[in-house]
Assembly symmetry: C2
Homo-oligomer: 345 residues x 2
């Protein structure tokens, strides 16, 4: 079937081509004309050509979402939420994957091609150079992460230090006194922020002891090996809780504890962070902190649409509060029993 | 910074605007001119406007990927693979989520807006109406799923019946004789195909018995309740293996067996399907069939690019072979012991 043209729509509606176009694309016409033209367009199955239209309007009706790795479950959760808001507003979502070694600068460069009206970027590293590029970008950008205080970029951030505080408070409240933080690499943003958060949280509990140990990776295998080491050394350096920097390390620790004959949570509490689907399927289930990935995605999309609608509005920096899901891996043991066994308190 | 124009590029290169445009956009010019114009464009930071360019070329350099639920891990795996191929070919990927109740017809309608050069569609249900719409679509479409034999649509399909055969053969080879298939809803494409596959596979083993049981959903909770029922009835209807229709049902069965005191794989083997990340984190690990989601995504993207390059090429229907990953949940028990215990063989 040949595609119907605006000329045919105009002829059927009995108006000029210019009127038909204005009525359809810009809603600038009398109510009666708009109604006539819409009816004719519907009858013929006419759909405006989005390329011609976007060129004329100077808008593409597309937004981009760029992340390091589109297969990472945390980014997927964000993307689903972004897509939901974007689609409901009549925009299309273009995905790019920056790769884990990228500075994200190419994504910002690409914006000059004019293929989108805005960008949501979740950079692995927020450098000064990147922020400067974003401030000069030809379309609005929202950063999922930590933009500097003085920048003019809208941003949405998680609060992993506060999440870490919730975990530590929970463990201490359930009778744990000797906590080991199992981190991934410390030279990553999550590694640095989560370890700082752990140490700050421990400082609030002078009756408990905290130490840290870094695994080479945020993976199950890395967590397994690190936990094995920590548990093997337990005679010299006793512990009653492992605070993992993410769920994968926590799952590795659960498996290591099982293999070495430690009862969880009888002898040892174990917690994770990110509250991925994986935390629900282990036995015992893994206590974990939800950093609100879906909520962050939703807010980022809403900030971007608001910025497009009103380019001069005030800069927004939004922080999403974490929440703790307590599962069997850190259920309370009676305090008296813990004290008697470990001789601390 | 005002955006540099093609006029400035042409002036700096010392060629006409038409030559500069041909050299940059179509590579139609002498090698020397192309080199001069490229250098001038690089110096000025000129990037062609993609909207103007796509209108002129009649191409958008965009492809769409449409699935029911972009958060589903199987679709995410496909999407990562699609994105990888698409990005490497200089295209952008536009994502749409059709929702789980949709007929996907709106996605096909949307193609008439001219925003993409092709579509990869993973429909939940492949209806005659949908195939007809796809055959009339204004741009090429590749279906991730089962297109009818006589259709002119390129398609990439999984082979879950063969996957089911691999599971059943493995269980029988490791001494299991009484198999229960725990399905999700039978009125879905996976539910129907996987159950047919199970029954066909059992028919090849007259010395073993198979029966089926449908859970109301493909979820952990549904699998847990269904397995509980089946295991509670084991005195009247003995079993030594549960073949779950997907990993989530399999994980529910693992948890139910644990709670009811069944040893896995001592008393009972349990298997899943889809080989998601979840199958690796359970204890015991869940034996599962990989239906090649990433490979299917990769092939679909390649078929689409090939079709765009050569619209008249022969229709391709590609089937990706499954593979079985054996984990602890179905490790072999000695055949003699199995026979003695169960009195079958």
């Amino acid at each position: 079937m040949p595609r119907p043209t605006i000329t045919q729509v105009a002829a059927l509606a009995g108006v000029s081509i210019a009127s038909a176009s204005r009525a359809l694309n810009d809603q600038i016409a009398s109510a009666e004309t708009i109604e006539k033209v819409r009816k004719a367009a519907a009858e013929l199955g006419y759909i405006p050509d989005s390329r011609a239209r976007s060129l004329k309007l100077g808008r593409t009706q597309q937004l981009a979402y760029a992340v390091a790795d589109i297969g990472n479950p945390v980014y997927v959760e964000m993307m689903s939420a972004v897509q939901h808001v974007v689609a409901a507003s009549g925009y299309r979502l273009v995905i790019s994957s920056t790769g884990t070694t990228s500075t994200s600068l190419e994504v910002v460069d690409e914006l000059r091609r004019g293929h989108v009206d805005g960008l949501i970027l979740s950079p692995l590293r927020v450098t000064d150079e990147l922020i400067q590029a974003l401030e000069l970008a030809p379309v609005p950008v929202v950063v999922l992460g930590r933009a500097p205080e003085e920048s003019t970029i809208d941003s949405v951030r998680a609060d992993s230090p506060r999440g870490m505080r919730m975990v530590v408070d929970h463990l201490v409240a359930t009778g744990r006194r000797r906590l080991v933080f199992l981190n991934g690499p410390r030279d990553t943003t999550p590694g640095r922020l989560r370890e700082e958060g752990f140490l700050a949280a421990m400082a609030a509990h002078p009756d408990a002891e905290g130490r840290t140990f870094a695994a080479p990776d945020f993976t199950i295998a890395s967590g397994y090996a690190a936990a094995q080491k920590v548990l093997d050394d337990a005679d010299d350096a006793p512990l009653d809780a492992i605070v993992a920097a993410n769920d994968l390390i926590g799952i590795g620790a659960l498996h290591a504890a099982d293999d070495l004959g430690w009862s969880v949570p009888g002898d040892l509490s174990i917690t994770g962070m990110d509250n991925t689907e994986l935390a629900e399927v282990t036995r015992p289930g893994l206590t974990s902190v939800d950093l609100g990935a879906a909520e962050r995605g939703r807010l980022a999309a809403e900030l971007l649409l608001a910025r497009i609608a009103e380019p001069t509005r005030a800069v927004h920096t939004v922080t999403v509060a974490p929440s703790l899901t307590i599962r069997a891996s850190s259920m309370a043991k009676p305090l008296a029993q813990a004290t008697a066994e470990r001789g601390v308190g």
